[in-house]
Symmetry: none
Subunit: 205 residues, 4 copies
């Protein structure tokens, strides 16, 4: 009993994470979380007070994870081109490990203005230096004639577009093509290199 007891809070958290990932905040009810976790609905509120707080604790952890992953992936000792390659690859790998995260982020940020504002503040304060250095280094490459004249935001948008979309539309793609999870994983791995290739080609002067 003790093991179950000690696990219950964790179990609720995991169940909630799974359901929030699948259906988003609005479509997941605390009743359902409780049912799937095998406990009373009141217990969900006992541990997390409100559905909102429960969600935020999950959301924030995921945001932190993703943010730190992005921040630490940048290694200034390498040549710029190599760093870009790594950026795409590492970002893509994070998506591989958290395939449902992109949709969750999109869904909640687009659906709930309050959440968008909070997330914005979080993102705006932290990675400014990273962004500035990236901008500087890019400008140097452009000046040297090694990269086409392009804004940093444009590059980031390209990376985001190429890397996020496969994961976001995965369920739709699978439903439409009957591709198995295994085959999809193979295709995804290929896609990673394709994305690197597309980005690199897009930058040659």
């Amino acid at each position: 009993m003790k093991e179950r007891d000690q696990n219950m809070e964790q179990l609720i958290l995991e169940t909630a994470e799974r359901l929030f990932m699948d259906k988003g905040f609005a479509l997941t009810s605390t009743t359902e979380i409780a049912r799937e976790a095998g406990c009373n609905q009141a217990l969900v509120h006992y541990y997390f007070r409100t559905k909102e707080k429960l969600f935020e604790s999950i959301f924030e952890r995921k945001a932190q994870l993703m943010l730190s992953a992005i921040l630490k992936m940048d290694d200034p000792s390498q040549p710029f081109e190599e760093r870009l390659r790594n950026l795409v690859e590492n970002h893509f790998d994070i998506m591989v490990k958290n395939p449902k995260l992109p949709f969750l982020f999109l869904n909640e940020l687009l659906t709930n203005p309050k959440r968008l504002e909070i997330m914005t503040q979080k993102f705006r304060t932290i990675p400014m230096t990273v962004m500035e250095r990236f901008t500087d280094d890019l400008q140097k490459e452009i000046d040297k004639g090694r990269i086409r004249d392009v804004t940093p935001i444009s590059i980031l948008l390209t990376v985001l577009s190429l890397n996020l979309t496969p994961f976001i539309i995965k369920p739709i793609f699978q439903q439409m093509t009957n591709v198995s999870d295994e085959l999809f994983d193979v295709m995804i791995e290929e896609r990673k290199h394709e994305n690197i290739r597309i980005l690199m080609r897009s930058l040659v002067p």
Copy 2:
């Protein structure tokens, strides 16, 4: 009075469309639709039976619109490269006119399995010949050495990724950068050509 009466069904439809676009199916209530349309709540159900049916009639019309737009954009008389260029550009232009559609589609298809299944059946039956001809023509270009060896699905995924993402993340981007609607429209127009450029460069052998 009669004009209002005849218009009411249409007005409800338009109001519902706007609200569904803004907040999705789940977060839009029939009460709200009725209130914004300026009619009785029961009238919404009188015309459309259920919220689900009301949504489907809108969703289907939008899907049809988008599908037909995509289908008719392909003109076999032009050279393949030109056709691709047109594909990206036309698809992008449709997004410009319906900027909220991508997220609505994503959201509802990913959120509601039933909806995904229905939509799949609709998409699977119709455009097979188009897809097959595209595949054939692409293969010919590859054989002629004019295009790198790449699957048609890969190309479509690239187009989708590049074209959908700017519109989907628009609100997030604007919140984070304080970019005005006008400036964003300018950036979007530039992005269209950037996307064409990226795709074309990605296909050179």
Copy 3:
């Protein structure tokens, strides 16, 4: 059916009034109101949106009733002593007609700070002139040596104390003494004159 239908909103209101009077806002549940009114709980919210709004609509009406009764009871054409006599008597008579009102007011104003503030604003704005005239007239009587030197607030407090308390403690008194409703009514009528007597005697110089 139609009669019941048209009466339902009214019936809910009356039931709510009765229950709020008996047990106050907090101890009355919308479920109970619905049960006693013989309707679905949702209907209570259909007509009044929230429990709070339902209560306020009752509370405000009662406050208005009491306020207007107090305001219009003052007739400057009569001699001051006569007016005081009337004040006590009329105020007492209002209590006779709404015996549970004093407790409801006390309970909600003391229990809910928000309500107290709203009520304060309502009372502060309206009867200022009445209060000022009362103060003036009292001062004249004092100057003429017809009334002991006493503040208007002191007089009002005496009136309130004497007039409200019998009604507030009525249930306690009846439980303790087994006095019937009929006998109590007789005692109440006597008490009215007693209160007038006590006030008048308290004012002689």
Copy 4:
């Protein structure tokens, strides 16, 4: 640790008393009591079984305190008029020390019929002799023509009315007049003598 432990029961009791006084039985939750006492929520129930029992133990103690204070205040060796004066003054002084008690008593007795019944039984048994002696002595004074013909209950009601009301409406009065606590205390002290005066004047033949 032991001291804290031994104090805990007392601390809970004191915290509960304070909260019950402030907000009454219904609006005070055991969760809140525990939080403010700085202990586990279960501990409240460990010591007092139920919220009801906890309240009753407080309520009863307060009732006892007030009752005994009233009983012992009566000194038959003094002249009747002096005793009455003392009655009002002492009762008023008890209120000064427990200003929130009147409303708590009223609220709980009027709100909870069970509580009213229990309290009634308690009050009925004990002070009968006191009441009877008071009645006798009063009658003698009336017979001697020193006091107007008046029932003992009428006198008690007058005392209660005059003495309780200022304390009960204190928060309302302060909100409406912005009178500070200090000034209110001064006014209260004056009111005590005013009440004695009013009662005495009301009794002259």
